[in-house]
Symmetry: C2
Subunit: 225 residues, 2 copies
Amino acid sequence: MTVPQMAEIAALVGDPARATILSTLFDGRALTATELSFAANVTPQTTSGHLAKMTQAGLLTVLKQGRHRYFRLATPLVAQMLESIMAVAASAPPRYRPRTAQEDRLRLARTCYDHFAGILGVSIADALCERKHVILSDDGGEVTESGRAFLNDFGITLATRTRRPICRHCLDWTERRFHLSGVVGAAITTRCFDLGWVRRERNPRALQITPKGREGFRRSFGFSI
Amino acid sequence: MTVPQMAEIAALVGDPARATILSTLFDGRALTATELSFAANVTPQTTSGHLAKMTQAGLLTVLKQGRHRYFRLATPLVAQMLESIMAVAASAPPRYRPRTAQEDRLRLARTCYDHFAGILGVSIADALCERKHVILSDDGGEVTESGRAFLNDFGITLATRTRRPICRHCLDWTERRFHLSGVVGAAITTRCFDLGWVRRERNPRALQITPKGREGFRRSFGFSI
DNA sequence: CTGACGCTTCGGTGCCGCCCGAAGCAACGG
DNA sequence: CCGTTGCTTCGGGCGGCACCGAAGCGTCAG
């Protein structure tokens, strides 16, 4: 039975402090133990224990650099697992939720592993679908010819040799709708950073949309945000 | 923050008894509280508590029928979450594993929600791919014309109106390779049950391949099992 | 070398929650 | 109507683990 192993992994995610750490690392960055201890709101000793357990279990990998130790999610599989847990958590319980300003910022725009999520992510996906640049189906999506041209204009060239440009959708856990992930989602995100349309906030998970970005999204994608 | 909710869901899966229950329900069946208490190896009272918590959290739904209460996974999202946790659990830790006969049977053939998994599931996927009846790409798959014809011969008619017959792949957590899920995977599984090629074992998760089935898989799919 | 910093290990405390025994309730069968 | 079966709630015991304070170890700056 692999059940005990499954329980072990789930139990690791099941502690609030560890869940916070994982969720902080969710966008793919590598952070130091101290930064994570700050994020999780526990002392460095406690954080150290958590990080050791998760590394041991294969959820995290660590990169030693001088006197710092940088932790990151070990594999995309881990990110995918977190995402599916979040999807269930978001869809399942009505529960009460206080709604903080912090949470609102997160809801507006954030990164999900390596691509946009939140209202921004969903708006981009909607815009591309509406113009038939991307066709989303039940478990994936494809970029049309017009979409390829559109992305080209936007400064993104997709490899032409692949049968189907890798374009996935990803259930947004605040909006409960799809945003784009995969190669396409990541490329759009990177491009927007390069264009200066978005910036990281003090809370590194939330994104700030610049005035230039608002204008750009309106002109290129046709939505106001 | 939705982090605490995520931790809550993960913590539910993180208890061995509950993980066993969820894993027992993983193939989509509905079982009574008593059956589940047997599977989880705890008393009915304890099981009752677990089931209540998981139902409350939206992981399970319950169907009252006379004096029985049938529990099943609430949504496919939950099954997907379990699957991704299993994938991480299987890929992450080398750990020791005793290898029981029971586990070998499970590894040979079992159902994964509503479709075949294990060596059987992977073999079917391999056979269909090799003959170009199905093309698997990075995050899904499609059925070709020849595949449609093949399935037709096999007694399965796919709806023609859908843009792309829904065919997903699903990472097999014992074989670490893909098997087919989605509509196609489920249809093949159902058909094999109807043909008497597979039967449920005493352990309801494991499947028994009948002699007729071995012959059939050899003739129709070209693999020996 | 000395101090500061990042991170770890060690020991002890407190709390959460898993578990079972006992008892209660609801549905079915005779 | 009473016994059986399926499932629940209640109460208490007990183990495990998250947490912190203190101290130790490597790394870097001066």
